[in-house]
């Protein structure tokens, strides 16, 4: 059994490479080998430049030491010299927002403070090559946004980034190129959009029940999700119609059912939601398979990649939930600036119009 085998790839200076794949595909092993945490059994890797790896935020913290002491310790573990840490200390404290608690032992920190301080230290690393493993999976939405901002900044500064994530939207947003890993091999290498599509096809073809893991005991299951554009062959685009189809299976008759499809920004904030009507007390489902179709005449969201969560509720109780189980890939369509496209019609009226309020 090999965790990785026959892997060969190159990352150019200034490139941001995303690595995606299922759990156990070998993503973290690649990162561990690159960072020196473990070594390969065979083969060779050449690294040009100072490399820093962030596998887990705050993993080198000592609970008994204060925030300030942990900055020294963790910074040194990440490869900073003492002089560099001293120079950046104020900036690290400010960025973390820990403020007055900096001289309190970190065992008394809330988990949020812990994570913020950990990331703040890592954010001040100034390596040529930065390896990141699922760092966005922790912390609240504001923290994730901060991480993304910082990573984007490093990219603009010409740093090389290797980014491992299950958050496909983040890979799409941050990376120039992506690798798809499966069972320790590189199965695809190319632009993120194409790799993400291949990854999703792989996800759907691998499983019998296409969406992630299924619990057999649950009353209802989501069995599939698909998005399509009824009016075009170019895929889903801003300002054009979209149809979402959510397949389900039930084991028995279920009362008062509500289906939800939630779309999330890459930062983790909820962007929009499609839900079936709950005003009449919800739907009554018979047992067996079926699907819900949502018809959206105008898709108002801006181009980009959205994370999709699915859920089924009965009597206000969630009986099925699938998180991050799919993505919605929206291409550029009608012109949009800002957060949303507003469907509108307009006309030009010339001449004074006394009944309308003037600006002054």
């Amino acid at each position: 059994m090999w965790a990785l085998s026959d892997i060969s790839f190159q990352v150019e200076q200034g490139e941001a490479l995303g690595i995606v794949g299922h759990n156990g595909a070998g993503k973290t092993t690649i990162l561990r080998i690159l960072s020196g945490i473990t070594t390969p059994t065979r083969g060779e890797i050449t690294v040009r430049g100072r490399l820093a790896a962030l596998v887990e935020v705050g993993s080198g913290f000592h609970p008994e030491l204060t925030g300030r002491e942990n900055i020294d310790l963790n910074g040194a573990m990440l490869g900073m010299r003492s002089s560099e840490i001293r120079r950046k200390l104020d900036s690290i404290v400010e960025f973390s927002g820990v403020g007055q608690y900096i001289d309190v032992p970190v065992k008394r920190y809330s988990s949020g403070m812990y994570v913020r301080l950990g990331f703040s230290i890592a954010a001040h690393l100034d390596p040529d090559i930065l390896l990141l493993d699922e760092v966005l999976a922790v912390g609240d939405a504001a923290f994730q946004a901060k991480c993304l901002d910082r990573i984007a900044e490093l990219r603009r500064a010409g740093r090389t980034i290797v980014f491992i994530s299950h958050d496909l939207a983040a890979v799409y947003r941050l990376c120039d190129r992506a690798l798809l890993l499966d069972h320790g091999r590189v199965v695809a290498d190319g632009p993120p959009r194409q790799i993400i599509d291949e990854y999703q096809q792989m996800t759907f073809s691998n499983d019998a029940g296409p969406v992630g893991l299924a619990e057999p005991e649950s009353l209802a299951q989501c069995t599939s999700i698909s998005f399509s554009a009824p009016d075009s062959t170019d895929g889903i685009r801003t300002g054009h119609p979209m149809v979402a189809r959510l397949g389900y299976r039930t084991r028995q008759t279920i009362p008062a059912v509500v289906f939800r499809i939630s779309f999330y920004w890459p930062s983790g904030y909820l962007c929009a939601q499609l839900t079936t009507d709950s005003s009449q007390g919800g739907l009554k489902l018979g047992s067996g398979e079926g699907r819900v179709e949502f018809h959206c005449p105008v898709l108002p969201v801006v181009p980009g990649l959205y994370r999709v969560d699915l859920s089924i509720e009965s009597n206000g109780q969630e009986i099925e939930a699938r998180q991050r189980c799919a993505t919605l890939n929206v291409g550029p369509g009608k012109f949009v600036a800002g957060d949303f496209y507003i469907e509108n019609s307009w006309k030009l009226v010339e001449g004074a119009s006394p009944e309308e309020k003037s600006f002054h």
């Binding site: 040009r48 100072r50 887990e56 573990m77 901002d149 930062s267």
Partner: protein, 311 residues
């Protein structure tokens, strides 16, 4: 690249999420650096002389970490304890008292005219430094598995930091020893300067044993269980509670093959007897200790590669 509209990327980030303080970080990103980029080639681990040199190079880059970690070991050890640093003095003093009672009241040993408390304390200090460093290093390496699986830094820094912390305790003990020497009016001569090479060899040998055992301990936890017993037996095979003079002459050559035995006897000679160290025995101790250190370090570095996988 396929279409990657900048508008898409920027409009996805909602205005509220961009935090003001990122400006502070922006300053820290230096664009267009001129320094040469180091080139590192990662290969499967090998047990060779080369590993020692490349290992020492990396260790030098992380020397600040070794210093910081050693300092924090001391800080953390006595945190939330009422007696604090007094503990560093209590252990040798307690042992000194009990051995003095046993070896002056119950039975007697020849000390060559040196008061027994002084005689035994002088040997206990280097021994406690040696044994507690090894014990702490062996357990310390596996204490926080996250450090091994989630971060990279030269792993030998963990055992070595326990050694450095043990050395600080040793210095405290030496101050107490000086007090006892003053009390018993045993005045040192210039030969006391030989303490420096003796302690260096002692530290080298302690590092060798600590590296070797802590590396094996990651794989086989038997080491951690065996070490207290081993150290207990070891202490009675070296001249701590008795003097080298009590060892039959025909066994002495064999006896002094253990670097610690020679080192402790020499430590006592230069401090309490005011004499020069036995050069043959010191040279032998040094040769064996540093040979062990080289082998132990090479072994540690070659097994470091898989520590994260098997811990």
């Amino acid at each position: 690249m396929t279409e990657r509209p900048e508008a898409a990327a920027s409009s996805i980030a909602r205005p509220g999420e961009t935090l003001a303080s990122s400006a502070a970080v922006r300053q820290s990103v230096t664009t267009g650096r001129s320094q040469v980029r180091p080139v590192k080639v990662i290969r499967p681990p090998a047990f060779s002389v080369g590993t020692i040199f490349s290992g020492l190079q990396t260790l030098a880059r992380y020397s600040d970490l070794l210093w910081i970690l050693s300092r924090f070991r001391l800080k953390v050890r006595y945190k939330q304890s009422a007696l604090g640093w007094t503990w560093a003095a209590l252990q040798p003093l307690a042992l000194m008292t009990i051995y003095t009672i046993v070896f002056t009241r119950v039975t007697t040993v020849a000390t060559g005219g040196i008061p027994y408390p002084l005689f035994v304390l002088c040997a206990l200090l280097p021994w406690i430094f040696f044994s507690s460093s090894i014990l702490n290093a062996v357990h310390g390496l596996v204490l926080y598995p996250n450090l091994l699986t989630k971060m990279y830094f030269p792993r030998e820094i963990i055992p070595l930091s326990y050694l450095a912390a043990g050395f600080a305790d040793f210095l405290i003990g030496c101050a107490i020893l000086a007090g006892f020497m003053a009390h018993y009016r045993v005045l040192p001569t210039w030969n006391v300067l030989y303490v420096i090479p003796i302690v260096m060899v002692l530290a080298g040998f302690a590092a060798a044993i600590a590296l070797l055992f802590s590396a094996i301990h990651v794989r086989f936890r038997d080491i951690g269980l065996a070490i207290p017993l081993l150290l207990q037996v070891w202490m009675f095979t070296i001249p701590v509670v008795y003097s080298l003079q009590s060892v039959p002459v025909r066994f002495r050559k064999l006896y002094l093959l253990d670097p610690i035995a020679g080192l402790i006897e020499n430590f006592r000679t230069v401090l309490l007897r005011g004499g020069r160290p036995d050069a043959t025995s010191l040279a032998l101790s040094a040769a064996i200790a540093f040979a062990c250190l080289a082998i132990a370090y090479a072994y540690f570095k070659s097994s470091e590669a898989t520590m994260a996988d098997i811990i």
